[in-house]
Amino acid sequence: MKHLQTYLLVACLACATSLKAQSQFEPVTETYSYADNEPAPVHPVPSHRQLLWQETEFYAFFHFGMNTFTNSEWGNGGEAESKFAPTKVPNPRQWLETVKAAGMKGGIAVVKHHDGFCLWPTATTTHSVVNAGNDNGRNTNIPEAFAAAARELDMKYGFYVSPWDLNSQYWGDGTSNYVNKVFLPQCIELAKYGSDQFEMWFDGATGGDHAGYYGGANTTRTIANAATYYDIPNLRQKVHEIAPNCVIWGVGDEARWIGNEAGWAGETNWAMGSGESGNINGWKWKAGESDAKATNMGWFWHSGESPKSANELFKIYLETVGRNATLILNFPPDKSGELPAADVTVLKQLGKLINDRLGTDKAKTATHVEASATRSAGSTRNYEVANLTDDEKDTYWATDDNTLSATITLEWEEQQSLYYVMLMEYIKLGQRVKNFTIETSIDGSTWTKRAASSTTTIGYKRIVPLSGSTSNYSAVKAKYLRITVNDAKGCPTLHTLSVF
């Protein structure tokens, strides 16, 4: 029987006897080989934009807007535009410069919160900076200034735009007017501020019992299904058309909320599923992002607030970035449109702390690094253990297909004080490791397990404190370090091993 040719055209079926239906389907015997003996992917795998997003790792959240001037966290949308009156023209460059000092690679600026006030001159509403209370406000265009500053500083950037809009008469009115006339056009306007955006952040709040202005209706409204109401699939497609590497967060389904706002992810954390731990069996790649406040009050700036200490923030860093999540850490600009001095100070301290503790990779000074198993090389690439320490994100160590457990052993000439082990999977081929062990030894024969209860998943990045605690900075003395992958969904593929 003949196979049907390139798409079974119905018209042809009707008229051509040679294309009649088969009696029995004959499976194709065509084979396909992965180049260079690369392992087959363990699906799901991240898209290209999700990979780039994951590499951003640590970035800032800047909550600035009408709430900054009304001392609130959620407005009601009825605030007079004149209340937005910064004492200086807001300075996103100062925001980004400051967080860069802490090692952050980018930032997300809130450009419209639930109150609907837009920090750019939008064509969709007059409830924007165009009608601000002073020249500083009227000269504000956060998307434009933020994008420009990020490019100058070689940082990534994106925007938070609240789907929920307490100002709009259309929101939740039972029609599609809000989405068609306001929200989709706003997102497109924002996408056009830079095709190099890395993330668009959609808050999940959907009305409820919080009363809103809603164009003067002054009522409560809600919607049943955010994804369909906001037409997320087509919004996502439209934004990607303009900004191909812009991950749509939350309801956009390309990155997930980690499940809390306290700054921690699960020690077991899969890039699929939901919540702090994800789901090993999830069908879609949706890695976790942890949003946390770096200050002691709200997401927006409030008089009298102060930042958490550098040590507290470092712990958050370890428990998010170090647990296969990204960290978006909130530093709210004040009424002057700049980050307060106390924030600037603590961000510098945090940067120093991260650099001091995670800046010198002792894996690179190991005299001997050995793997118990290594995959056969392909014609143009190998999977040697040396790939773990070469600082190349596209090389990796791997085992043969049926080898799901293996050990990697490092030896130093002298005894070392070791604090952290950092592992990174080559997630382009999927997240694989289900369980691993870290051991240290003084003599190479007697081994002690470290952080034994927490070594389950790795993912994009895992930082394991050898002391077992993210709060204590205490060393383990060792001349040898052994990492054993005990179980994995497919042959393990690690691209980086660092020891600090």
């Binding site: 196979h3 049907l4 390139t6 798409y7 079974l8 055209l9 119905v10 079926l13 009707a14 239906a21 088969q22 009696s23 029995q24 389907f25 499976p27 194709v28 065509e30 396909y32 392992p39 087959a40 992917p41 363990v42 699906h43 799901p44 795998v45 898209s47 290209h48 599609s176 989405v179 068609n180 959907t206 009305g207 409820g208 019992d209 409560t220 809600t222 049943a224 299904n225 994804a227 369909t228 109401y229 906001y230 037409d231 699939p233 087509n234 497609q237 309801v251 389904d253 499940g259 809390n260 599923g273 939901s274 919540g275 731990s277 789901n279 069908w283 879609k284 999927g430 969904k489 497919g490």
Partner: protein, 551 residues
């Protein structure tokens, strides 16, 4: 587990839920002809798929119309689940991703509205292939002329396990913005990673229908849940702790929850008692927020819970009887701001009434913690899966009873009478839920060895109906009777009709004085029929000093 099949393509659906789910503008593709589709192919959401990059030379060869490989009738019903002559075959390539599937371009696009629609698909996979199936919708906004109709509009995985080696009738709810048209459907036969596969397999697809009916065309299981019945909770921040049910102000009946499972089937152990006309209030002790409570009763005992909601309240016959949140309202029709129904750690469902005309009997009752969903099996929206949201389902039995129940006794060679008045039981009715004392009276020359107590409902029918136990049969030995040959039927066994069969056998009157025998070697000992014995027997009955003993 197989329970029952119904005919495919019946004019009305098995378990049809009535007017609120009336089938409108159904689109059907049965592959018997070319009707319904314009072309066939394969699709993969993975951007590096060799089926997208061109590395696979002839993707179109991976699908084709073929003979139905399985038209055999089911052994129990003698009905073929799918008797179609032709079906669509798709070769599950191990080089495609977990979302590789057969693409069916529709002859007529599906014009979506704000309502959820349902894609019904029959799928047959080889033995050993039990992974989930998915339906992907490709389409575009009808007001965006330049948009590609290949924009992915929804991904909807199947809920629960797929039976291998036989046709499955699956239902996928689909929802999009009202401006969207669906131009193609992709049926993904194997929503799992193929990296460990060493060969491909062929799956079969048939009878695709898009309509407004959420129920499968074939009933394959009763009281289904939309996840693995052994599923463990995946969240630690949300948890159902316990349930209490109050009936017309009486003392609350409590239900303990096994927290290690999302689904608690307690129908063998937990019975809620209520009379017709009584008001039932369900309270769920719940840790966490943002969840709502739902209560169902299978009034027609057909193995399904069918919600019938109109104007935001359950209509007559609705088997969703109470809820705290559904599309902005609770079951009283009161507007609710959102689905966060947890107040001080408790979800309180609005009271519902057992209809006055409810026949006495056993009914499956389901209590569910979920979010904004009337599906008794749990929310299957990918963004709000019951399991992911920390939901829970608990099944118990509801005993709708009268104030008094029938009691009767039938046996030969003796009688079982009311202990209170030595009257026959045949015409008696006794209070429900209260203990009742009966007396065994053997005919002369007979003794009794006990009784068989059958209690519950439908005592002449099958003991289980759709997994719901209708009655119990207990053997009560003579040793459970007192010295006056009386037995006190415990209150818990007076839970419906009580039917007694006395067990009488030839022999002397039963011994009902059982006392430990003192050691008395110097006392004359007799057998039960009066013969003098040399000594006390090592075992058995004997008489000493005028008393009967059992050793």
């Amino acid at each position: 587990m197989f329970i029952a099949w119904a005919q495919v393509f019946t004019p009305s659906f098995i378990g049809s839920t009535g007017a609120n789910h009336a089938t409108l503008m159904a689109q059907t593709i049965d592959f018997e002809s070319t009707t319904g589709y314009s072309r066939l192919g394969v699709y993969d959401t993975w951007e590096q798929s060799p089926f997208r990059t061109g590395a696979i030379a002839s993707p179109s060869l991976y699908v084709g119309i073929t003979d139905n490989p399985d038209t055999t009738p089911d052994q129990e019903t003698a009905i073929a689940p799918n008797a179609s002559a032709k079906v669509l075959a798709v070769q599950r390539s191990r080089f495609g991703s977990n979302t590789f599937g057969a693409r069916i371009d529709l002859a007529e696009k599906i014009e979506m509205t704000t309502a959820t629609r349902y894609v019904h698909v029959m799928v047959l996979k080889p033995l050993g292939e039990t992974s989930n199936v998915m339906v992907i919708g490709l389409g575009k906004r009808r007001d965006w002329d330049d948009q590609s109709p290949d924009t992915e509009q929804f991904w909807q995985p199947s809920s629960g396990t797929i039976a291998d080696g036989r046709w499955n009738d699956l239902v996928f709810p689909i929802a999009t913005n009202e401006y969207v048209d669906i131009h193609s459907l992709v049926i993904v036969p194997d929503l799992s990673s193929p990296h460990l596969r060493t060969s491909d397999f062929v799956a079969y697809i048939d009878n695709i229908e898009v309509n407004d009916n959420p129920k499968p065309r074939i009933v394959t299981t009763f009281y289904p849940v939309n996840f693995d019945a052994e599923q463990a909770p995946t969240r630690s921040d949300r948890q159902l702790n316990s349930i209490s049910i109050t009936v017309s102000g009486e003392t609350a009946q409590s239900i303990t929850v096994n927290k290690s499972r999302v689904y608690n089937n307690q129908v063998e152990t937990k019975f809620i008692k209520a009379k017709p006309g009584s008001k039932v209030t369900v309270k769920m002790s719940y840790s966490g927020n943002w969840m709502s409570g739902y209560a169902y009763v299978d009034w027609d005992n057909d193995g399904q819970f069918k919600p019938l909601i109109a104007d935001h309240v359950p209509t007559v016959g609705s088997e969703l009887v109470s809820y705290t949140y559904l599309d902005g309202y609770n079951s009283l029709g009161t507007t609710q701001a959102n689905g966060n129904s947890v107040v001080s750690g408790t979800i309180t469902c609005p009271a519902f009434k057992i209809p006055e005309d409810t026949p006495f009997g056993i009914y499956r009752m389901r209590l569910k913690v979920d979010w904004n969903d009337d599906d008794a099996g749990g929310n299957i929206n990918a963004n709000n899966l019951l399991v992911n949201n920390g939901g829970c389902i608990v099944d118990v039995l509801l005993n709708v009873h009268d104030d008094n129940v029938d009691i009767s006794a039938n046996q030969l060679n003796g009688d079982v009478l009311s202990a209170a008045d030595d009257m026959a039981l045949s015409d008696k009715r006794i209070p429900f839920g209260r203990s009742y004392k009966v007396k065994a009276v053997p005919a002369p020359g007979f003794t009794y060895t006990g009784i068989v107590l059958t209690h519950g409902y439908n005592l002449d029918g099958p003991q289980y109906v759709h997994g719901n136990k209708q009655f119990d049969v207990d053997s009560i030995p003579a040793a459970s009777f007192n010295t006056d040959d009386e037995y006190n039927i415990p209150a818990a066994k007076v839970n419906g009709e009580v039917r007694i069969e006395g067990l009488f056998t030839p022999g002397p009157t039963a011994i009902n004085t059982i006392e430990p025998a003192p050691h008395s070697p110097d006392t004359a000992v007799y057998s039960i029929d009066g013969r003098r014995l040399a000594s006390e027997p090592r075992s058995g009955v004997f008489i000493s000093q005028g008393k009967k003993y059992l050793r």
